[in-house]
């Protein structure tokens, strides 16, 4: 089977840069490659034409150019879109493998351009070459921590025969500003695809925290305090009442972020207890406290 994609370039048996002038399409290399496709008998190998791909150094240079100016060049955005198109095709195949291998129905997405640019500005343009969550899947399961571990193992089994082994990032052991989950980065066709495996609680917390970030500033996802919406000059011009109002509002927001982080800690403690002491008679009471804390957090969100 031959799949088409970006076939405007001439095909070559080896990766090749086309043309001497580095226009966006000429920067692309075309690969004719053999890959094992999903839904084939074990060991079946077919010839497939993969979308044109940028080399790692080309992607790195693209990332640098994208953040050099406030307004990315149209040609560079077009290149980025082509990279994302390639990831999208690979992601679709990976989703099929998860559906068939685990019997679950994950949802998937390609990271949006705004978030990519946001991260490039935060971490530097060269970060684009090492990004592992351009393509992502999410599995939310009504399981405890042991069930979460079982799903992770199943994913490793499904993708374990790929040339590059899956990588497990356990955000329960190393949470990121309250965020906990297990991420499995798999490499179908050599392309990284991040699969987020979340318990219901981990997921509900993450959704509420995203809502909070929308309200008080997305920097809280990186450990920053809630955004200030006034400048020092504006503060100088305020009367005492106005100053008290903005400082108080900011304090409420800061407190809400702290509450969210505390709730994340409660979830972690109870989920850990479920796996290490499942017979603990107090567990049901602890679970109720987590539910109540999540509802309380939502009430605070309504007031920020």
């Amino acid at each position: 089977m031959v799949e088409s994609g970006g076939l405007e370039n001439r095909c070559s048996g080896n990766p090749a840069t086309v043309g001497s002038n580095p226009t966006p399409s000429a920067l692309l290399s075309v690969h004719l490659t053999t890959v094992a496709l999903p839904r084939q008998p074990p060991g079946a190998v077919q010839l497939r034409l993969v979308r044109p791909r940028l080399s790692t150094s080309q992607i790195e240079r693209l990332g640098v150019r994208l953040v050099e100016s406030t307004e990315p060049a149209a040609a560079d955005l077009e290149l980025l879109h082509q990279v994302l198109g390639t990831y999208s095709e690979v992601l679709a195949g990976a989703v099929d493998r998860v559906r068939e291998g685990l019997g679950v129905s994950p949802t998937s997405r390609i990271k949006n351009t705004g978030t990519i640019l946001e991260k490039l500005h935060r971490y530097g343009g060269s970060w684009l070459k090492s990004i592992q969550d351009l393509a992502g899947m999410r599995i939310v399961a009504r399981v405890d921590r042991r069930g979460q571990n079982a799903i992770v193992q199943q994913l490793i089994d499904v993708f374990g025969e790929d040339p590059r082994s899956p990588k497990v990032i356990d955000r329960r052991l190393a949470p990121v500003h309250g965020y906990r989950a297990v991420h499995v980065v798999v490499f179908p066709e050599g392309v990284p695809v991040e699969i987020q495996v979340r318990t219901l609680w981990q997921h509900e917390w993450a959704e509420l925290f995203e809502k909070l970030a929308d309200l008080v500033g997305r920097g809280i996802r990186y450990g920053e305090p809630p955004a200030r919406w006034w400048s020092p000059d504006q503060f100088e011009e305020m009367d005492a009442a106005a100053r008290a109002l903005v400082l108080g509002t900011h304090a409420v927001r800061t407190t809400t972020v702290e509450l969210a982080l505390a709730v994340a800690g409660m979830i972690d403690a109870v989920e850990d207890g479920e796996s290490t002491a499942p017979e603990d008679p107090e567990l049901d009471a602890y679970r109720r406290r987590v539910d109540e804390a999540l509802v309380e957090l939502r009430k605070h969100l309504e007031h920020v």
């Binding site: 679709a92 989703v95 129905s105 997405r109 949006n112 997921h203 509900e204 959704e207 995203e210 999540l294």
Partner: protein
């Protein structure tokens, strides 16, 4: 699988647009067009999601569809 294009206003907490596509390439194209349409507006989030059903999306990406109260009801 169905492909969904969402345009979400973070400041307002409101979904501005939801379109469904049967072909992934169409959804990606629509996404890039929407990103151009809303360029320079960082409060607007444009997302292309793939799911077997919209119900699955409500579970995994509920924040685009549900308000705070509905999210809390889901928890309770």
């Amino acid at each position: 699988m169905s492909h969904f294009l969402l345009v979400y206003d973070r400041d307002a907490g409101m979904l501005l647009r939801k379109r469904r596509y049967e072909i992934g390439a169409d959804a990606m194209r629509a996404r890039f067009e929407a990103e151009g349409e809303f360029a320079g507006r960082p409060e607007i989030e444009i997302v292309a999601l793939v799911a077997e059903s919209e119900d699955d999306l409500l579970v995994t990406h509920g924040r685009y569809f549900l308000g705070l109260t509905e999210l809390a009801d889901r928890i309770a």
